[in-house]
Symmetry: C2
Subunit: 285 residues, 2 copies
C-alpha cells in the first residue's frame, strides 16, 4: 500500500521538527505527523474527502463558544477523552476507576453539610447518596473534599439553564471523622449530548445515538491521595452498553435501591490511591 514517495514525504515533515527545543513537543509532533499520514495513506484519502474534513473541522470551530465546546464533544465521541483518562489514572488494584470529567463541571459550587439536600429546586424523584471515602488499604479518609454535580429529571445540568440565578444539584461536601459522606438530591435522568452541531451530524451519519446513561459525578480530593474524577452509574440503565462518550466502567455501576416511600438510595464507597503510588507516572508538562 505504502508508496516509497509518500513515506519520503512523511520523513521530510518529521525531520522539519528536528530543531524543536522542547523534546516532549518534538516527540508529540513527530508521532502526530506519522499517525496522521498513516491514516491518510491507509484510506487513500481523496481530495474531496480532505476538503470535507476541513469543512467539518471548520463547522466544529464555528459552533464552539464560551458555552459550548464542540472539540471536546468530538474527542469524547471518538473515545479519545476516555483513552486519555484511562492512560493517566495509574492505579493499584482496589482503587476506584476514573472516568471522563465531562463539559458540565464548573467552579463556584456551594458548600453543603452532611445530609443536606443539594437539589436546590432541581426537579426529580428524591434520592439519598451515601458511602465512605477510604484509602486503598482501607483507612478512612476524614476531611476529604467531595465535589458532586449531576443532571436533573429532564437530563439537564444547572449550567444548561441560563435562566437560573444559583447552582442546582451541585455542591462541595466533606467527609466526616469516619470518612463518611451523605447528601440528598434528585434522581438524574439519562440525557443526549448536544447533537445539533457537526458532532451530532457525525453521529447521525454513522447511525450512533447521542445518549449517556444516568450518572452522578464525583471529584474527590484529599492531601496525600490522587484526586479521583469519576461517575456512579445506575444498574439497568438502557445506555450502559452504548454510552456516547465511552465513559462506563463495570465497577462504577451499582443498583440504585427503591425505598418504600418511592425515593431512591445510592450507596457507593470510594477508594483513593496514595499520591506516591503514581509518582512513577507524573502528569507531563
Amino acid at each position: 500500500m505504502d508508496d516509497p514517495d509518500h513515506d519520503e514525504l512523511t520523513r521530510q515533515v518529521v525531520d522539519r521538527f528536528a530543531d524543536t527545543p522542547d523534546p516532549r513537543l518534538k516527540e508529540v509532533m513527530a508521532s502526530l505527523v506519522r499517525h496522521l499520514h498513516a491514516f491518510a495513506r491507509e484510506v487513500r484519502l481523496s481530495e474531496a474527502e480532505w476538503r470535507e474534513g476541513i469543512e467539518f473541522l471548520t463547522r466544529v470551530g464555528r459552533i464552539t463558544s464560551e458555552r459550548r465546546q464542540e472539540f471536546i464533544l468530538l474527542s469524547d465521541t471518538l473515545g479519545l477523552s476516555m483513552l486519555t483518562v484511562a492512560m493517566n489514572s495509574a492505579r493499584r488494584a482496589g482503587a476506584t476507576e476514573s472516568t471522563v470529567l465531562g463539559p458540565f463541571h464548573v467552579g463556584g459550587a456551594p458548600r453543603r453539610g452532611q445530609g443536606d439536600d443539594i437539589a436546590a429546586g432541581a426537579a426529580g424523584t428524591p434520592c439519598e447518596v451515601r458511602g465512605a471515602v477510604r484509602g486503598v488499604d482501607g483507612e478512612p479518609i476524614a476531611g476529604a473534599r467531595i465535589e458532586v454535580w449531576q443532571a436533573d429529571a429532564e437530563g439537564k445540568y444547572d449550567v444548561q439553564r441560563p435562566e437560573l440565578a444559583a447552582h442546582r444539584a451541585r455542591a462541595v461536601l466533606e467527609t466526616d471523622a469516619d470518612g463518611r459522606y451523605g447528601y440528598r438530591t434528585v434522581v438524574p435522568a439519562a440525557y443526549p449530548i448536544p447533537d445539533d452541531g457537526p458532532v451530532g451530524a457525525m453521529l447521525r451519519a454513522t447511525r450512533r445515538h447521542p445518549w449517556r446513561p444516568a450518572h452522578l459525578h464525583f471529584m474527590i480530593a484529599a492531601p496525600g491521595y490522587s484526586t479521583l474524577v469519576t461517575h456512579v452509574f445506575r444498574a439497568g440503565d438502557p445506555y450502559l452498553d452504548s454510552d456516547a462518550v465511552f465513559g462506563v466502567r463495570q465497577s462504577l455501576i451499582v443498583e440504585w435501591k427503591q425505598r418504600p416511600d418511592g425515593s431512591l438510595l445510592v450507596e457507593f464507597d470510594f477508594a483513593l490511591d496514595r499520591e506516591d503510588a503514581v509518582a512513577g507516572r507524573p502528569e507531563r508538562r
Copy 2:
C-alpha cells in the same frame, strides 16, 4: 507499551461505527479512530496535553473566517495537503507533477489573450512566461484552459489586498493551435504563509520558518485529459529545500533567465496525462 485495556477501548469505539450505512465513511472513521488512539498511546498523552490540544484547535477555529482558513494552513504545514495531492495524482512517467492548490485560488479571473500582460498593475520586475501544453505522448493540446495566479514583488496575492477593485497577476488563458501559451507578468517574490495565528505559534515553538519559495501557479484543463494543478519554482530560491507547506518537486524547478533589459524569462512545458490513464483511481465520493 499497549495496555490491553486501552486496546479494548479502541475496539469498542471502532465497533460503535459498525452500523454506518456508507461503507466508505465506515472505513474512514474506523481508520481515523485507530490512528488517533495509536498516536495518544504512543506518546502516552497526558491530560494537560489533551487540554492544550483542545485549546489549540479552538484557537484555529476562532481565527478561521471567509478570508482566512487556518485549518488548511494546519494541514499544509503538517504535510497532509501535499500527501493527499501526491496520492491522488496517479500519473504515467512523463506527466508533469502536481502540487498543492493553496489558499489563494479564487474564481472570476479575467480572460486574457496570447502574449498579454496579466500583471494589471501588480508591482515587480517584468517577466515573460511561455511554453507548451502537450499530452504525455507528445501531442500538442490546442485550446487547453490555463488558469494562472501568483504573488507580486512584495509576496502578496491580489486577494490579500482588500483595497483592490480588480484582479491582478491572475488570468485565464488558452493554448493556440500548436498547444503554445505565453503571457507577460511580474516576478513573484517568496513569501511567508500567514503566521499571526495558532499555526504561526506552532511554527515558532518548533523553530520552523513560515516561508514558501517563489512560484507561479497553474491549473490546466483540457477535454480528455486529467486536470493538472501545479507550480513552477525558481532555481536558486533559498526556500526550495524548506518550503513551509512541502509543495516543492524537483521536476517543477527551472531557471528563470535574466534578459539584457533586466526582465526575466520563464519557459516551462506541461505534459498532461490522459483521463483514462487514471480511471483506475477515481476520486472517491
